[in-house]
Structure formats: structure tokens, C-alpha cells
Point group: C2
Chain length 327, copies 2
């Protein structure tokens, strides 16, 4: 298994990316010492190779400085960086030797099995759609968001902002993609799918929700539980929450703002600590042909470590194949 | 000034409605003793008449029991009650002697100047649209929601769920209606209007937001400040926040759920106490020809008192005339 990492993406790159790898290595060693038990629990056992895209002299120095061994690790030197605020398509075209463009090149050629970045989200989407492409039959790839729950679990909301205008068919595919991700990566068996709506009963909602409800209801491959409302988002009432990307993005950004409020109010609470979204690492682009993980711009070491973990799990569980089978 | 009150609407009717009137009377007496100062501050000075719709024997007994004098107060006996879960149009048709139907009859005939209820929201909308009717030129009347802000102020979000599918023209009218309400009733001078969107720049968002932005920008009668995002909802970045009723309702119900979370986590915080929505009383149906205030089903005394206060203010500030002038 070979995972590609854009070492230059994110506000704290490349240092925090290097520290993330260090953390991962450290924990993997701990796991290895536990031996068979870890294996029985289904933890990562196959040898993990990392391919780092970025400025080689800088990366080599940082890896050495922080005592990260070069075992199972290769650096691909890139000379350009796509800035967080650059126009995605323009940047991908004009910076062919950027860490993101080269990273996608490796992924497309099968030299890596997944690609992760905390850099320019738009450029990551462009790379996903144009170099990796949507899985045949997927109308619109999607990005989701973790939603903290009072019981300590995570819900999965999608679309989180990529597809602002949707048709009922899109929501149906989000439900399928989200169910597979929730089951395989978030370890939620037979995940309950809720349609985000403004009333509980069938027939409620806007035209989109009214159109999507019967389609979701008729899907045998998902566990559709009906409509859920704004009040259910932070409760454990549905595991996968489906909506178009406009509402989803408003929910996500509102949820993200709660952590700042809690901090400014000097409130210390286990549940509200879950609103620090950085801890979850990143989110996959679901519906494209390879695992692509996009992280928050403010990603620190833990986020990078977790992104690698999500990519590993998506590869091990063969999520892409499962999606193709469902189509 | 004569305000009609549905005494039978809400989970705790008619007791809490009676207690609300008692609270109002008590506070009004306090105000009256302060004399000129209160008048200078623009507080309510004109004589307030209340018309109570409901079961007369029950109301008379409760008023007496709680020591509420019958001065400036008349009871209109009604024999039917529209239940919280009844179908609105059907109920309004089949229960012509319900407190809501009779209350709207009085309002339509000009026997009262405003009507408030914590009962069936749908029936209140049906009454507003069919007996009071939309102001000429208003495409879609709307209901808003208060949004707590960290600085202790309130923002005003609309539409909060009545109009799930909207056109750009609807959002433009919501912006105008919301601005007048925020300025006149919430006392926010020159309120800043933000378009709820999924990006900061013009051109971002779904087709609706993309269509609404230039229209809002060109309106001279409002103070449009551009796009706001989910993260701005609880901050003091815009006073009036405009969106279609699907997103608005999801935001409102999500915000309402925060208070329960805070309580269950045993967190005591001034700002998060503002998420107890019951304290705000009710919200007006904006865009109809008379002040109509709809309260939460779980309204207690304070909510009833505040609803009367909002109706009073809408009458005193002549909000309906101001809306007509803007059209």
C-alpha cells in the first residue's frame, strides 16, 4: 500500500505533515509490539509506503531533524506550490510541477493508491474530477463532513458544499456513498440514513426533498429511516445525513463555529470538544476512482496522521470496489 | 389599541396565557409609576385593550383565581379549539367557532388591531393568508426567527420554514420585510442584511443565491453587506439574515437543539441561555395586512407577555404602513 501525501498543502506545511508522519510511525510501532491482538482487531497490518510530494531539501532536513526514518518512504521533488487562495483550474494548469498536480499524476498512473492533501480544496476537487475522474455511473462526486454526537459517536453529513444545486438522483447517490463510507471507515454497521428536511412526515419539504424521499425509500441497499430535522444533526438519530451542498455547507460551517464559541465562553466539555473539527483529519472525495482525502487548511500533525489513517482504511476495505458493486 | 389573543393555543393554554397577561399588567403598572421617564424612553403609553378568545367560564375562573382585573379586557366565548396536530385548512373550515378562526374574524373586521396565538402554526398561516391576506405586492409572506449572538444581541433570520422553495425575488422581499422588523421592533438602526451563502464572494452559492445577490446589491432601501456563511449565524456580522425556508428551518431547529445540549451537559452560560427560544415570545407573519404573531407551542407566561409586546410595538411603529410604503 502506497499513500501519496502533498507535503506543501495547508497553513502549517510542511512541518506539521512531517510531524504527522512521525506520530503515525510512533503509534504503528506501538501497535506492532502488541502483535496478534492488534491483528485480530482488524488493525493495519500491511506494510505502509508513503510517497511525499514537495520540496526535497526542505523535507529531507525536516524528516532528519525530527528523527523520521526514510524506511518505506520516498520523496518526489516538486518545485511549485498551489496557494490556498489560487483559482483551482487555473492553478492546476499553470503549475504542473506543484505538489498537488504531481501527486495526482502519480495516483492516476497507479504509482500510489491514495492521495491526501490539506491544501487548496478546489484544486483537490479539480484533480479528483479530471485526473482520477468520477466512477462510471456516479453523477456527482461528493464531500461529506463529520458531525459530533452527544453519545461520542460521529455522524456523516453529505454533501458538505461541493454540490450546491442537486437533483433527487444526486441525493440518492450521496446516501449510497455515505452508507458505504460510514459502514467501512466509520465502523457503523447498517448505518441509518436520514434525509435532512423541515418536517418529519413524508411529503414535507422543498421540491428536492419531496422528490428524493420516495427514491430513498425504495432503495434496498441502504437503511433509510425517513426525514430528520435540524434538531437531529447533533443527536444520534441517523448515521448518514443527506442533503444538497448548500444546506450541508451552512450546517458544517455553523457546527464549526460552535467550537470557537465554546472556547471563548471558557466552557470545557467533552462533547463540545468534538466540535474541534481539525481532529478528524480530513474527508474523502466520494465517488471518484481512487481514495482522495482533503484536509482542513489549518491541519496539524494529528490531522495529517488521521488523514493517512482514513486513506489506509479506504484502501484496505476496498471502498472504491464496494461503491462500483453497488452501482 | 386592541390586541386579540388566542387563549386556547399552545401546550399550556389557557393557564399560561392568563399568567402572561398578569405579568404584563404587573410590569405595565411598574412602568406607569416611573412616569415621564418611561414615556421619554419611548415605552408603551397608549391604553392597551385585550380581547381574549376562548372558553369563557374557564377564562373567567382563571383570571379571577390569578387576580387579573377585567379592566380593558373582554372575553369572546369560543366553543372549539384547533389542536396542534390538526390539518390547518381542514381545521379552519370545520371549526368556525374555534379561538383561532373567531380571532381572525375579529382581526379581519378591524375589531382588533393584532392577533397572537401559540397554537397550530399552520392554522395561523392559513388565517393570515386567507382572512388577512398578503399586502398587495408581497409575493410570499414570511416568518423569521431570532438568532442569539455572542454580544447579547439578537439577529433576525428569515425565512424560517414557511417558504421551502424560493425565487430570488422572494429573498429580496424577505430582506425588505426583515429590515423593517429589525429596525422598528428589534431597535436595530440601519440593519445590516446578509445573504446566507456558502462562500464570501459574489457569484458563490446555488442558483438561488447567485440570482438573489445582484438584486439585493441593487436595493437602495436596505443595507446589504453581501454574503454571510453558516459560521456567521451566531456572530454579530449581519442583523438580518436572508435565505429560503429550507435552509432557514434547518438552522432554526439546529439552533433550538443547542439549548437542550447545553442543559444536558450542565453548562450554565449567559450566551447559551439565549438559545432558550421560548423567551422571545413569538414571531410575526411578515407581509400580511395586520400584525399576526405566532408563538411556540411550549409557550409559558413570559412568552405570552412578550408576544403581546411585539404586537404592541408593531402597531405603535405602524410596521404594516412602513412595509406598504417600501413596496
Amino acid at each position: 500500500m502506497n499513500i501519496g501525501i502533498d507535503m506543501m498543502g495547508g497553513d502549517f506545511a510542511p512541518l506539521e505533515a512531517v510531524l504527522g508522519i512521525k506520530q503515525l510511525r510512533h503509534e504503528a510501532q506501538g501497535t506492532r509490539h502488541e502483535g496478534d491482538t492488534a491483528r485480530e482487531e482488524g488493525q493495519v497490518t500491511s506494510e505502509l509506503q508513503l510517497t511525499l510530494f514537495g520540496d526535497e531539501p526542505q523535507l529531507t532536513a525536516l524528516l532528519e531533524e525530527h528523527g523520521v526514518s526514510m524506511d518505506n518512504l520516498q520523496i518526489i521533488h516538486t518545485t511549485q506550490v498551489i496557494d490556498m487562495h489560487e483559482h483551482p483550474t487555473k492553478a492546476m494548469k499553470e503549475k504542473p510541477d506543484s505538489s498537488i498536480a504531481v501527486g495526482f499524476g502519480y495516483l492516476a498512473k497507479g504509482l500510489t493508491d491514495a492521495f491526501i492533501s490539506a491544501g487548496n480544496t478546489g484544486a483537490m476537487m479539480v484533480g479528483s474530477l479530471f485526473s482520477i475522474r468520477a466512477i462510471e455511473g456516479i453523477l456527482r462526486p461528493t464531500i461529506g463532513a463529520y458531525m459530533p454526537r452527544e453519545n461520542g459517536k460521529l455522524g456523516w453529513l453529505l454533501d458538505a458544499g461541493i454540490n450546491a444545486d442537486c437533483k433527487p438522483e444526486n441525493l440518492v447517490q450521496f446516501a449510497m456513498l455515505g452508507s458505504i463510507f460510514a459502514e467501512q471507515v466509520l465502523n457503523i454497521p447498517n448505518p441509518r440514513v436520514g434525509l435532512i428536511n423541515i418536517g418529519e412526515e413524508e411529503g414535507k419539504g422543498n421540491l428536492l426533498a419531496q422528490g428524493a424521499y420516495p427514491l430513498l425509500k425504495s432503495m434496498e441497499s441502504i437503511n433509510f429511516i425517513g426525514n430528520i430535522e435540524g434538531r437531529d444533526v447533533f443527536l444520534d438519530n441517523a448515521d448518514v445525513m443527506v442533503c444538497e451542498g448548500f444546506t450541508g455547507n451552512v450546517i458544517l460551517k455553523l457546527a464549526e463555529s460552535i467550537h470557537g464559541l465554546i472556547q471563548r465562553r471558557n466552557i470545557e466539555d467533552e462533547f463540545f470538544n468534538m466540535f474541534e473539527f481539525e481532529q478528524y483529519g480530513g474527508v474523502p472525495v466520494l465517488g471518484v476512482n481512487k481514495p482522495v482525502i482533503i484536509g482542513h487548511g489549518i491541519s496539524h500533525a494529528k490531522a495529517f496522521k488521521n488523514m493517512i489513517g482514513i486513506a489506509q482504511k479506504m484502501i484496505e476495505k476496498d471502498v472504491i470496489r464496494l461503491i462500483k458493486e453497488k452501482l
